[in-house]
Point group: C2
Chain length 316, copies 2
């Protein structure tokens, strides 16, 4: 587990913009579990963070100086130079926010990479369809809470897991048919068995560990597991222990890891589909907002103890 002294808030020297660059005042910073992986010095799908260099991540802000003709001062944009209050970014690394009647930080959440992760993980990777029973772990989290709502909008039965009475109640309010309190007294594998009397067809994994094992125990024939995250394992030195792994054979389970960036070519499909769900009027966005750049490490570490309900954001 990272500690506060691993982080440092530093002033960096200003510099002039080069042609094609914009200076952005960040308003909202995205705080995501995957960032933990970038703190390990290993080859992965994104390069590791470098020591003594700024970290990055999703951000929404406003152009305050521009040497790019199509991004005039005042443009609201989304980009990947987060973890800082001001950023210089080339125009090609910047997306203008569409003119939609939603708060701008939604483009870091349900209408941004978080929503895309939920959409393609559920519908493309796990191939979930109407009538399926879907189990979603960390269903009160940023991705999980969107998965629950997409699944309900598409006619699935949804079982969510969340930690503590307040989150359980909130996930129920999103439309989940059953919600398991993983901090409760009943072992997860039993609780899932009681909730999924006919088994599960799809598992959307944000947690790994015991959640994955419970899903293996109750998977139906031909079940599909979309492995989005394993927050239980990011800081663990112990191996994952699975009692029900052998069921992959008899139940012909498919376990598939994915990264949302694999689906960038299908972003239009997401924007259209998610736009329809949001336009339906029942969609719920929840945010846990921490104020101030200096509190970003706190917000980040809070992800691993479940401090967030919905999307964790830092507001500048």
């Amino acid at each position: 587990m990272p500690v506060m002294t691993d982080f440092d808030l530093r002033d960096l020297p200003q510099r002039e913009l080069a042609d094609g660059e914009v200076r952005i005042a960040n308003r909202w910073l995205s705080v995501d579990p995957y960032m933990r992986g970038r703190m390990n010095d290993v080859k992965s799908y994104v390069p590791p963070f470098q020591l003594d260099a700024p970290m990055d991540g999703g951000a929404v802000g406003e152009v305050i100086e521009s040497k790019a003709a199509d991004l005039p001062v005042g443009t609201r944009v989304q980009h990947m130079a987060g973890w800082r209050d001001e950023a210089i970014v080339p125009a090609k690394g910047v997306n203008k926010l569409p003119d939609i009647d939603l708060p701008e930080q939604a483009f870091l959440g349900a209408l941004g990479l978080t929503g895309m992760t939920a959409w393609f993980g559920l519908l493309a990777v796990a191939e979930a369809k109407a009538g399926d029973t879907v189990f979603v772990s960390a269903a009160a989290g940023a991705v999980g809470s969107v998965v629950v709502q997409i699944a309900k909008a598409k006619g699935m039965t949804v079982i969510g897991s969340a930690g503590g009475a307040e989150k359980v109640e909130w996930v129920r309010s999103l439309g989940a048919d059953h919600v398991i309190d993983y901090k409760g007294d009943v072992p997860l594998v039993k609780a899932l068995g009681a909730a999924a009397l006919d088994g599960i067809d799809v598992y959307f994994d944000n947690v790994g560990g015991d959640h994955l094992d419970a899903a293996l125990a109750h998977a139906n024939q031909g079940a599909r597991f979309a492995i989005c995250g394993m927050i239980d394992g990011y800081n663990a030195s112990q191996p994952t222990s699975l009692r029900y792994l052998m069921r992959v054979i008899a139940a012909r389970i498919r376990i598939q890891g994915f990264i949302v960036s694999d689906f960038m070519g299908r972003i239009a499909e997401f924007q259209q589909g998610m736009g329809e769900i949001v336009a339906g009027g029942n969609f719920q966005r929840e945010e846990t907002v921490v104020e101030g750049l200096e509190n970003m490490p706190d917000a980040f570490l809070g992800l691993f103890s479940g401090q967030n309900k919905g999307k964790m954001l830092v507001k500048l």
Copy 2:
């Protein structure tokens, strides 16, 4: 682990044949790891064995009495009433052996369900193709040794694992590019890393446990794992411990369990393709033959300590 006293050799009363039935003198009995699963009283893809009733499994024999017109006395057949010296089977449960110049027991091995398991696991489930690097565990086993040879015939690089110098040498003689002795001093994950300098694209799993973990550690982007068996786990009361499971996400690994019976509708594809490989003349069949029905439990238990090289068979 089952023990000898779990088995009993019993004389059953004779009975007359009904119309459409044949009486078969079994010559060869198939001994397979999957039978261990049928000893657990759980719902699975085949019903569990029943206490005080004969077990069954693949067998090859000769019709010695017939009330089925198309199966006259003397017909050589394959069927599923094994674990016994004589069987009464309805004609629809019996396959005539084709007239091919191969020993009849080959239809329990490379040209039977064992070969089909190798064929469809490698080519359909794992979608292995020319140029892929394929890791096969238990490569000296019945299924593994066929996987090695199919993969080489199809232009793949093959890394096998086997236990002990003699089996390692044999797997090398089948054409494997690298063979790891899993009983050696080097931890499996290191040995696989040294053999697979460019990683693995496909893992054909017959073992589970440490083998699966090593495959996770060295899987390339988009690697496909076909989970055929987990002989390490059949008799284990301990959960499987995986240190590298999180790599499914970053490497987008697909883990897919399968059962050969899912592919019965594609048997012609197997017979044609495997027939061509066998006709090529380089195909090696190896058998470990135990004599006598009374020694069938010994042969079966031997599977779990790696007593077999190639297909384990009992000859009557």
